[in-house]
């Protein structure tokens, strides 16, 4: 009998990377289902193109790296990284931010950019500075803006016309009722319209301990409080609720800002980061060129994650300001 001599601990928990990724997919399913139901089968087409492109890009990149390592004679060459499920999640998240009318070629460009340039070339899973899905969307917005913000295509009943956020830019409350907004009965991207579905997904992730509620609560709380002061129509509370239920802020706060690799690891840091995302979102919405600011708010905050972690380190055990804790 050959006994293994290895470092403690000799037992480990059942938390695994691919299980976390599966949980994120499960959490996104309600929002995706609403998107497909509202916007038609093309929403599903966009989602599949995005996912397949992301997974294939990851698979090819990983295989090329593996072949090189094997050719160099490295003894320990890991399996292809598509097995960790993160490319699938990136593809799915990217699709959630897009309208159902987006040209397929543009989706392919965005997904390849997200996986190869933003993630893999930064060192892969956990190493990237910027959120791959949002960076992919930002590139798409840059090279073909019409394709990404065209919500005017015919879907099923009523999912046409200007988005609520476009109407709010014009200093008016949207035509849709608050309830319609909450349920996703309004034009918008595939995964962002239905706040109820997104909140359910977020609650599932918190319950499964995949994410903590700190970032979403700090983010949405900040947007809520600040939009009270930026109200341009209706009562401040109405304006606040419309602000929370419109655009990508719900999707962004729950699924994008909580991305492990691109958000802080300390509890205090997560709150600081959530507040930062919220402040920037409200500023971009009110003073920016585009009606929505979530993508750029989160991408900008991504750049500050390491510095936030550094200055929000937990207090050292046994030390308080001015000496030993007693």
């Amino acid at each position: 009998m050959k006994l293994t001599v290895a470092s403690s601990p000799h037992i480990r928990g059942n938390f695994r990377t691919n299980r976390i990724m599966l949980d994120v997919v499960i959490a996104l399913l309600p929002a995706l289902a609403v998107g497909v139901w509202r916007l038609g089968i093309r929403a599903l087409g966009v989602t599949l193109v995005s996912i397949v492109t992301a997974v294939v890009a990851e698979g090819i990149y990983s295989e090329v790296v593996r072949r090189k390592k094997i050719a160099r004679g490295e003894s320990h060459v890991a399996k292809n990284t598509i097995a960790d499920g993160s490319a699938l999640v990136t593809g799915l998240l990217l699709a959630m931010t897009l309208p159902a009318t987006v040209p397929y070629w543009l989706v392919v460009v965005g997904a390849v950019f997200a996986i190869i340039m933003v993630k893999a070339l930064c060192g892969g899973l956990g190493q990237n500075i910027f959120n791959p899905a949002l960076a992919g969307r930002a590139l798409m917005l840059l090279i073909w803006p019409v394709g990404v913000v065209n919500y005017h295509a015919a879907g099923v009943d009523g999912a046409t016309g200007a988005t609520p956020l476009h109407q709010m830019v014009m200093h008016a409350l949207p035509e849709e009722s608050l309830l319609d907004m909450f349920l996703g009965n309004c034009p918008g991207s595939i995964g962002e319209a239905c706040s109820l579905a997104l909140i359910l997904g977020g609650a599932y992730l918190v319950w499964r301990k995949v994410i903590s509620a700190r970032i979403p609560v700090a983010y949405l709380g900040t947007v809520a409080v600040m939009s009270l002061f930026f109200a341009k129509a209706g009562t401040p509370v109405e304006w606040m609720l419309y602000s929370l239920f419109s655009g990508g802020v719900m999707l962004g706060a729950i699924f994008m800002a909580t991305d492990y690799a691109t958000s802080p690891a300390t509890a205090k840091g997560q709150i600081v980061y959530g507040i930062g995302c919220g402040v920037l979102t409200v500023f971009f919405r009110n003073f920016g060129l585009y009606p929505e600011g979530v993508t750029y708010a989160i991408l900008l905050m991504n750049a500050f994650v390491w510095i936030i972690d550094r200055y929000t380190a937990p207090r050292r055990f046994g030390v308080v300001k001015g000496g030993a804790a007693r």
């Binding site: 290895a6 601990p9 037992i11 480990r12 399996k79 972690d309």
Partner: protein, 436 residues
Amino acid sequence: MKHLFFGGIHPNYNKEMSTVVTTFHTIEPKQVVIPMVQHIGAPCQPLVQVGDVVKRGQKIGDGEGLCVPVHASVSGKVIAVEPRPHIRGGEVMAVVIENDFQDTAIEFVKNDLPLEELDADDVLHSIREAGIVGMGGAAFPGNVKALSSMGKVDTLIANACECEPYITADDSLLRTDPEHVLEGMMILRQVLKPERVVLAVEDNKAEAIEKIKALQSDFPQIELKVLPTRYPQGAEKQLVQALTGREVPPASLPASVGCAVFNVSTFAAIYRAVRLGLPLTQRIVTISGEAIKEPQNFIVRIGTRFYDLIEKAGGLNDLTERVISGGPMMGFAQSDLSVPVIKATNSILCLLKDKNGAAENPVCLRCGKCVGVCPMRLQPLYMYRFVNANRVDELNRLNVMDCIECGSCAFTCPGKLPLVETFRKGKKMVREASAK
């Protein structure tokens, strides 16, 4: 007021495995191997030679400085005095005794003086001469710890948390001989004169708690504290924090915040040494894990080799992956089962391959769960990164030396990073850099 410690985890405890057998079996080994190093500090020098006939309880090794003696645990003939494999790795000078199965003992001097007539110096001397060390794992000489706590502590703590999964040695001690523990606590109370004497136990030991409660009227000075089960509650700094809210400063001992912590087995050994005159020659050892046929607790003579005990417990499963001295979170994996049980060995664990074990390609997701579970409030994800980047300056900033190696971070890590071994390496880097 309810104090708690930071972070922590809830592993599967699997304690019921070794408590099914409720009576202790004893084992009479043909040979015992008694290492001269069973404590933190200076090694003992052998006092016997090959061919000598020894009695149980006879001192066979002793030394100067931070050192307590070791004693023969069987009667018989010394057949070797030579380096032998040790549970902490490498070989250590040991006295090997062939058991004559007569169990002839030296004369033990009893002490029936009332508590208040016990002299502190006499008690500390008895503790030293009995070779008592911290029996929870650290193996710090008991008399030195008590002496260094004198006049400094207002709280004396008996640690019965036994927060490591599988182990039930302290639990079975409390279920069978609770009065030995309580008497031992009263003896040290007499020496240290603390305001508060606390017996701390986790709430997953219902029967032990009942046994102590039944005795509480005889020991009104002792406070029983039942804590919600969570690993690593039994770690000294965490237990002090959970009971008093005080945080032991970095690189300091509990005495610096007025606390002295001893394991319950140590208290029982102190009772036996001071009152019955018995040196520390036996202890309770849990043998458990999915890979052993009959998990249970044994009363074991110090020096009994692992394979003798394993055989007595029905033997190993063919698929055994590792055998551990100590618990699954902090214990040491063994390659050679001829190593002997020493004073601080509370468990021999036989495990199958962990289905959640190390990943083929460990990757940090930056999920931050390690930060949330670290009881020392460290940031394991950054420590890991900077050890691998050889950045001693960053490791100092991140207080890597504060790490108690409890393994909570590694247990929780979804990327299955080798965190604890990396931090040991990081500490070594820091020590080497500061020695320059």
